[in-house]
């Protein structure tokens, strides 16, 4: 399903062909959608417009179209600041977190859904209890723990504490439970071991769920503000969100630069979403996140 062909873009088949033409109902709906989208995009439009103004123009009376269109702020943000550095840090952290989470959460989800071992129900209960502890609550003791592991101001300290999400284990556990057992059983009778079954049969069948979990982990990690803020003081190690937040404090405010920096921090995920949006929606529907 491609984003370029909107009339076929929905996975549920639309039975009546008549609805793909401009009925009065569709015209009204499109008008409402357009109005709401305009409101929803206006803040981003304002940010873009500000980022293309000169600093003096940005603080004069508000207007949408810059009088002196200039990319100077974008240029100075990219060249002068730490932004390229923060960008790479964010990328390293988010990619590592996503990879580790996908690996450990799918293994654990499968372990809970399909294997037996001593203490399974106790560990399952422990995982469920973890759903209630967020980094916001654990912040201070988590910092103390990471400090005693000597991980403050390191990549490890930023990455590893984000890698134990009970929620992702639970989502994948639910999904693996719903897979038909017969497939694995057939492979087992043919002599495949449990690891081989997991990697060659189960994982390939789980692509929609894994991509949903992966995408949400990546978004959460890329945008994570609180934890990197607590664990790093070194500006060279900061991720994009913290870097952007400190820019506001450290320099006098130059609005066009602030907006350009923000757009640079936000654009990568928006581009990713444009390409993957159908997988995201399908993934959410498949993982049972939508709770039907």
């Amino acid at each position: 399903m491609t984003t370029a062909a909107p009339t076929t873009a929905d996975p549920t088949p639309v039975p009546r062909k008549a609805r793909s033409t401009w009925t009065p109902g569709q015209i009204a709906l499109t008008a409402v959608a357009a109005a709401l989208s305009l409101v929803w995009m206006a803040p981003l439009g304002w940010a873009l417009s500000t980022s293309l103004k000169t600093p003096t123009e940005s603080v004069t009376s508000p207007h949408w179209i810059p009088q002196h269109l200039t990319a100077a702020s974008w240029k100075s943000v990219i060249e002068a600041g730490n932004i390229p550095n923060w960008f790479v840090n964010s990328l390293v952290v988010s990619v590592c977190v996503t990879f580790v989470v996908l690996l450990v959460a799918s293994l654990a989800g499968y372990g809970f859904a399909r294997t037996e071992f001593r203490g399974k129900s106790a560990l399952m209960a422990l995982t469920m209890a973890g759903l209630m502890f967020s980094p916001a609550i654990l912040g201070v003791p988590l910092f103390a723990t990471v400090q005693s592991l000597g991980m403050v101001d390191t990549y490890w300290g930023m990455i590893l504490p984000q890698c134990a999400p009970a929620a992702m284990v639970y989502i994948l556990y639910k999904f693996f439970q719903s897979l038909p057992r017969e497939l694995e059983e057939a492979a087992f009778i043919d002599g495949a071991g449990r690891w081989r079954i997991f990697f060659t049969i189960v994982l390939p069948l789980s692509k929609p769920s894994l991509s949903a979990v992966g995408i949400f982990t990546f978004i959460a990690s890329w945008n994570n503000f609180l934890w990197p803020y607590m664990v790093t003081n070194n500006p060279d190690l900061m991720t994009m969100p913290n870097g952007i937040a400190t820019v506001q404090n450290s320099f006098g405010i130059i609005w066009p630069q602030l907006m350009a920096g923000g757009l640079i921090a936000g654009l990568p995920l928006i581009v990713v979403f444009v390409f993957f949006q159908s997988q995201i929606v399908r993934g959410v529907a498949h993982t049972g996140l939508a709770g039907q």
Binding site: T3, P6, D10, P13, W22, T30, V32, A33, L36, S37, M41, P43, L44, W46, S58, V59, S61, V104, A108, G111, R114, T115, F117, G130, F133, S134, A136, G139, V140, P141, L142, T145, L160, P161, A164, A166, R181, E185, F188, I189, R194, W222, F225, L226, N242, I244, A245, M259, G262, G266, L269, V272, F273, Q277, V284, A285, L289, A290, G291, Q292
Partner: protein, 313 residues
């Protein structure tokens, strides 16, 4: 966790003991499945279980950031927290924020999902517009709305043609955070609703149409009842997340407490105690107060779900 195995039709187990079923072989083969969960529990133990236990212990001490001269002081921190007006004050701000933001998110997300589901032209564009803000880091959202709410040269006053000092007066400071949050986070709930709408069986609508139900009646009598479960989930997730609000509020008010201390949230106060006043023990104690509130909400929801299941039976 016993799950029934479908009988292996036609596939006789090739073991020596004829009495051993395929199920028993399967079970035996999959013993020691503990290895599957080991990597997760190493990380989970280190970064969730240890901090929880450690936090509980710290909350009973007068620990500071360096960890020297830590004394066990029993429940003194908790006693102090009950008398600390800033605990109540910041808790109220988090609750106030939750009360404002959650209903707005549910209504707007549902409206957006209904539009994006029923529209046939340019579906991808509407999805993108409604979801895009969710993809921005909170710090960017905070900075952006800080700019939009500027009194003389911000967009909000410009578009509305008014002159409100949103960020500097007590009565509007929290509203500014709520507006920014609604704009930022509604996309996630929108996506959940959109997925749920796709899961409603289509024949229900066709049947209703044959019975002569119009579009509004179909929404009211088929869509809305079928969305009850997902609405419960959206509400629960949003309440739990909103009680822990931190990022956008601190970025919009430059890590300060807002005008007349009107936007200091509970998490913010916890971190101030831990990292600014260096009172690690006290910070841990108030963190656990927030945990108890969150646990109460989560358990309350489970209890409600169980009641409803019993009703359905």
């Amino acid at each position: 966790m016993t799950t029934t195995l479908a009988p292996a039709t036609g596939l006789r187990p090739r073991t020596a003991t004829a009495t051993e079923s395929a199920r028993a072989r399967w079970g035996r083969r999959f013993q020691h499945g503990g290895w599957f969960v080991t990597p997760f529990f190493v990380l989970y133990g280190l970064f969730v279980v240890v901090p929880v236990v450690r936090g509980l212990y710290l909350s009973l001490t007068d620990a500071n950031i360096s960890g020297d001269h830590t004394r066990f002081i029993g429940l003194d921190n908790y006693r102090e927290a009950f008398r600390d007006h800033l605990v109540w004050n910041s808790l109220w701000h988090s609750v106030q924020f939750t009360l404002y933001v959650v209903p707005c998110i549910v209504v707007v997300a549902l409206l957006m999902a209904l539009i994006a589901h029923h529209i046939t032209h340019l579906k991808w564009l509407w999805r993108l517009c409604f979801f895009a803000p969710f993809l921005l880091p909170s710090a960017v959202v905070g900075n952006l709305w800080w700019w939009l709410f500027q009194p003389t040269n911000g967009m909000v006053n410009h578009v509305l043609g008014i002159d409100t000092p949103w960020l500097t007066q007590k009565s509007t400071a929290m509203i500014a955070v709520v507006v920014a949050t609604l704009w930022w986070t509604v996309g996630f709930s929108f996506l959940l609703y959109l997925a749920a709408l796709q899961n409603i069986p289509h024949h229900l609508y066709e049947a209703a149409e044959l019975d002569g139900a119009n579009a509004l009646q179909r929404v009211l009598h088929i869509t809305v009842p079928n969305l009850r479960t997902i609405t419960g989930l959206v509400l629960a997730l949003q309440v739990l997340a909103s009680l822990q609000v931190f990022d956008q509020a601190v970025v919009m008010y430059q890590f300060g407490p807002g005008p007349e201390e009107s936007t200091r949230t509970f998490v913010q106060y916890t971190l101030e105690q831990g990292f600014t006043s260096y009172r690690v023990g006290y910070a841990s104690a108030i963190s656990f107060i927030l945990f108890l509130i969150i646990a109460a909400v989560a358990l309350g929801r489970m209890w409600l779900l169980r009641l409803r299941e019993e009703d359905a039976r």
